[in-house]
Amino acid sequence: MHKKTLKEIIGLLEKKEVSSEEAVKSCLDNIEKNKHLNALNYVNADNAIKQAREIDARRARGERVGALAGAPLIIKDNICTEGIPTTCSSKMLQNFIPVYNATVVEKLLAEDAIILGKANMDEFAMGSSNLSSYTGPVRNPYNNDYVSGGSSGGSCASVSANLAYAALGSDTGGSIRQPASFCGAVGVKPTYGTVSRHGLIALSSSFDQIGPITKNVEDAAFMTQIISGYDERDNISYRGEYPSLEIDHEFSFKDKKIGVPKEFLDLLLDQDVKAITRKQLDLLSDEGAQIIEMSMKTLEYAIPVYYVLGCAEAASNLGRFDGIKYGYRSQDFEDLIDLYFKSRTQGFGKDVKLRILVGNFALSKGNFDAYFKKAQKVQTLIKQEFDQAFEKCDLIITPTTPTPAFKINLDQEDAQSRYICDVFTAPVNIAGNAAISVPAGASSKGLPIGLQIIAPSLGEKLMFDAAYAFERIRQ
């Protein structure tokens, strides 16, 4: 039963062929069997069963229930859940229990979803491997010697291994799409501003976006619709219209213009990724799509822009962790300043410290114009490049990642993969538009490979229709 998609389980729940309690227990059994994946930081077992029984009772009485009624979901551990620990996989927040729900969690609960657990992640969402987690790496469900990707590694492994019917993650430079690609799941980065980040523990506020991870495209559109919407508690929240994301099952690629950044194809080192991307583009071409290879020269600068602005904002956002108001406090200090030093030194992991340093370097006097302002200018160029590209095409397609998942114990070859894995995903965060990663095939070692479909800002409807059509053509 845990292998059903979200829409399938909701259908069975509605028809009362399955109870929510059964659905929850089926997932809990599967969580127990998959403990070795280390996908979850916290399992909300007792509360989930209690909540499932309440929803079953309401349904039995014929009361109105929400669109997700009784479906167990997993939430990334940087999204605040009232009364449930939210640790960011950091020693700094091991004992942190939020006193409020993030807006996205409120929205899921308003539809009667069940929060089954909190997903492991790279510490403070910094990383693409889930190797920086304080609670240890997440293992790839397809091959346990390989990484899940990150930073939403636990969320993606959970969906891929059927620990829940869907999950939420966050994506700042590719942190939903990259692990979704590594784990063979569907992952969405919605348009910046369309999903509230209130209650998301901030990494880099100019790029952070919450999105769903699901087993198929239809579920992804359904979840995106539920979590989207204006929220006055997120000051970059979009106030305009939010179109219906109901999938058009008749969508055809005929005469659709698909842009392919040719610099990206040149960058591809991995033969499997190259072959599968080519094959899928040919498939779309057979369906009538017009494939347009275009030069997008500034996209390769997304990673340096991301390092400067992302680290600078992370350094500022993580300044709040001082051992006073909440989070870890060192027990051994001489005075107030020493308490700050010791708490931060002992509470943060190595990757987090490095990014704070890089960020404060870019923000410091003498470097601000050369690094921070320069990066903001290049951000403008990247956005302009996307705007110009979307005048010539409807959607842009790239591989999601340049390689499939790499080994947890990095060898020489894999060490390089670790640093380039956001190269195709980060440009979308810099420009602020929407993208989805859809499973597109497997490598010679049997590891999943994903295809990224990039849409203009607010182009989610077209993106989901195309992704759904692609998913169906592949089957």
Binding site: Y238, V305, G327, K353, L354, V358, K377, T380, S457
Partner: protein, 94 residues
């Protein structure tokens, strides 16, 4: 090239301490990142406006209306130490 002294200075400003071994590792990773970042200089940005605003139209300021805040007692439960409804910090002035 970033020197150990520069890294020590930034880490002090960041309120983070490193031992000598860690500093060397940090320096080598820092250098690798700076090499990546320095590639930005390959692009001519003369006359380009920096991006300051989010891409979509958003209202920057909301009405200043007082609303209920979170419960003080609940918030303090997450504090490492608290007393009389306040966060407790080490003594600063005797």
């Amino acid at each position: 090239m970033i020197t150990l002294d520069e890294i020590k200075k930034i880490s002090k400003l960041s309120r983070i301490e490193f031992d000598d071994q860690e500093l060397k590792e940090i320096q080598s990773e820092f250098r690798a990142i700076l090499n990546t970042i320095d590639r930005l200089n390959e692009l001519d940005t003369e006359g380009v406006e920096p991006t300051y605003r989010p891409p979509l139209d958003v209202e920057e300021l909301r009405e200043d209306i007082v609303k209920p805040s979170l419960d003080r007692e609940k918030i303090l439960q997450n504090a490492p130490e608290h007393e009389d409804g306040a966060f407790k910090a080490p003594t600063i002035v005797e």
